[in-house]
């Protein structure tokens, strides 16, 4: 008997309720239009209309990954401090089903940032960015969302397992924006950093998303998409493994409530 599917949807619904009841959790989405204004003003002031898609894509990607860090990363931690985690572990539902449900909801909500940024461009600056390769864009976006969710899962697990790791939470956003090539392609980073960033799904994803907005044909689409999906899957596997080990450790040491 498995309770995976109802648990997944129930967790997703619970997360949506959380958003509704505590609008403060949507802070990242409130900041996205500001980042759109900031970044677009730079490209517009520099007279580089060709970079407008960069400036509007970046804040959307930043909002999504930012929510993975600030909200998804909190999920296990919060459940532990309210005693919900302990109760979840006594139910037949697998923890990963509950976790994926919540984080899928967070990721889905974070994609609203795309619309926000497009609107800022259109209404604030009269800049309308067209999607030149819709299929490439859609598929890459799907893989990107999966990667963002996997990032959230991994952080959620690591923030609980690692001692003091959560105190780095606030500090993770900009390093991830930089390594993910959110605004400036990682090719502009020093060589060592570029190599490192290629291990992060987001650097492949942002390059592909930018290419999907440009008129030029997209080179090597499938292998690059595979890189995004593969790295995301790897992160998801790592997250599940850590969460699984955490549950085992919790059962062994009995410190589920407060450790």
């Amino acid at each position: 008997m498995t309770a995976s599917s109802p648990a997944f949807w129930a967790a997703a619904r619970a997360q949506l309720t959380e958003f509704r009841r505590d609008p403060g959790t949507l802070l990242t989405l409130a900041t996205a239009p500001f980042f759109a204004v900031i970044l677009l003003s730079v490209t517009e002031h520099g007279g580089r209309a060709d970079l407008a898609p960069y400036a509007l894509l970046a804040p959307a990607v930043m909002a999504s990954i930012g929510m993975a860090v600030m909200e998804a990363g909190e999920t296990i931690f919060r459940d532990r401090s309210t005693g919900v985690l302990e109760a979840v572990l006594t139910t037949p539902a697998p923890l990963t089903a509950v976790l994926t449900g919540r984080i899928a909801a967070i990721t889905a909500v974070s994609l609203v940032g795309i619309a926000e940024c497009w609107l800022v461009g259109a209404l604030g600056f009269g800049v309308v960015v067209a999607v030149e390769h819709p299929l490439v864009f859609a598929l890459t976006l799907l893989a990107t969302a999966a990667g963002v969710a996997a990032t959230g899962m991994l952080l959620a697990a690591v923030f609980v397992v690692g001692r003091n790791v959560r105190s780095f939470q606030n500090s993770l956003t900009f390093p991830l924006y930089l390594l993910g090539g959110a605004m400036v392609p990682v090719a502009f980073l020093p060589a060592g950093f570029e190599a490192l960033s290629r291990l992060f799904f987001l650097s492949w994803a942002t390059d592909l998303l930018r290419d999907s907005l440009a008129p030029a044909p997209v080179a090597h689409f499938w292998p690059r998409l595979a890189a995004v999906a593969g790295l995301a899957a790897g992160m998801f596997a790592a997250a599940s493994w850590i969460a699984h080990r955490m549950v085992r450790r919790v059962r062994r040491t009995g410190t589920v409530g407060f450790a």
């Binding site: 900031i38 003003s41 730079v42 520099g46 003091n164 924006y177 392609p185």
Partner: protein, 263 residues
């Protein structure tokens, strides 16, 4: 009432708070890494545009605004009093809540000055900004002035956060981003319509940043001091609003009973 003693105790309590926020390790490998990444993030925009002049402009703007960023955290730390349940005790204490709340988050001025200065001085050579010793020293002093004056804005957000507790991170973030967008951080203030320019002029950090730009660019001392003067003048206004808002909060809370024991 011995005001000095109250301040000393308050500042000590603020210091112990800071020790909870950061350990030396999390400060160096967490916060400072983020600060450097944030400044690099904005500076590389110049590289993307292929314009070294713009790169230096973005570097100075992003680095100095780290000081604004950190002093805005006074908004959140003001509400820690509420979270720890000590707000009721403060409101009942003879020293009064306003002084204590105004002084308790001072440490952000110190850390803001330090991280902002490190970012500016460490990344200047990387992005081709030549700074002499005198210019560097002036920049650090002016970063301190920026942190100090922007602290008043942080307090103002803090007093709002006390009232609207769940939005505690929202106010400070949105004010910071507003300043970043329209305050001459990434593009000159003159890029924006006149109304926005007037609006931006209300923020002390905008004048503080202008002072740093003038000093680094070798402008006459009088021009720099004029900008600093504007920073302090606007800060005085914000401080007055913050004090009034805290006082108003305390009075209102006594009437409505919205300060709970152990809230």
């Amino acid at each position: 009432m011995n005001a000095i003693a109250v301040l000393r105790q308050t500042m000590w309590s603020g210091w112990t708070d800071l020790r909870i926020v950061y350990t030396p390790t999390t400060w160096a490998f967490g916060w400072m890494v983020r600060v450097l990444c944030q400044v690099v993030f904005y500076s590389t925009l110049g590289s993307l545009l292929g314009d070294p002049e713009r790169t230096r402009y973005l570097l100075v703007g992003a680095a100095v605004f780290i000081a604004a960023n950190e002093t805005m955290m006074a908004s959140a730390s003001t509400t820690w009093e509420r979270l720890s349940g000590t707000l009721a005790l403060l409101a009942a204490a003879p020293a009064g809540m306003v002084t204590v709340l105004a002084a308790r988050s001072w440490f952000w001025i110190a850390t803001g000055t330090v991280s902002s200065s490190i970012a500016l001085l460490a990344l200047a050579p990387v992005f081709g900004l030549g700074l002499g010793a005198g210019e560097a020293a002036a920049a650090v002093a002016l970063v301190f002035a920026t942190a100090l004056t922007n602290y008043a804005v942080g307090l103002c957000c803090g007093s709002l956060s006390l009232r609207f507790h769940r939005m505690r991170n929202v106010f400070s973030n949105l004010v910071l981003l507003t300043m970043t967008a329209f305050g001459g951080v990434v593009v000159p203030v003159s890029f924006w319509p006149t109304g926005f320019q007037w609006f931006a002029a209300a923020f002390p950090a905008v004048h503080g940043l202008e002072a740093v730009r003038l000093a680094v660019g070798g402008a006459p001392a009088a021009a720099v001091l004029a900008a600093v003067g504007l920073a302090f003048a606007t800060a005085a206004g914000w401080l007055a609003v913050a004090a009034a808002s805290l006082w108003w909060f305390q009075r209102d809370a006594r009437r409505t009973g919205s300060i709970d024991f152990g809230d």
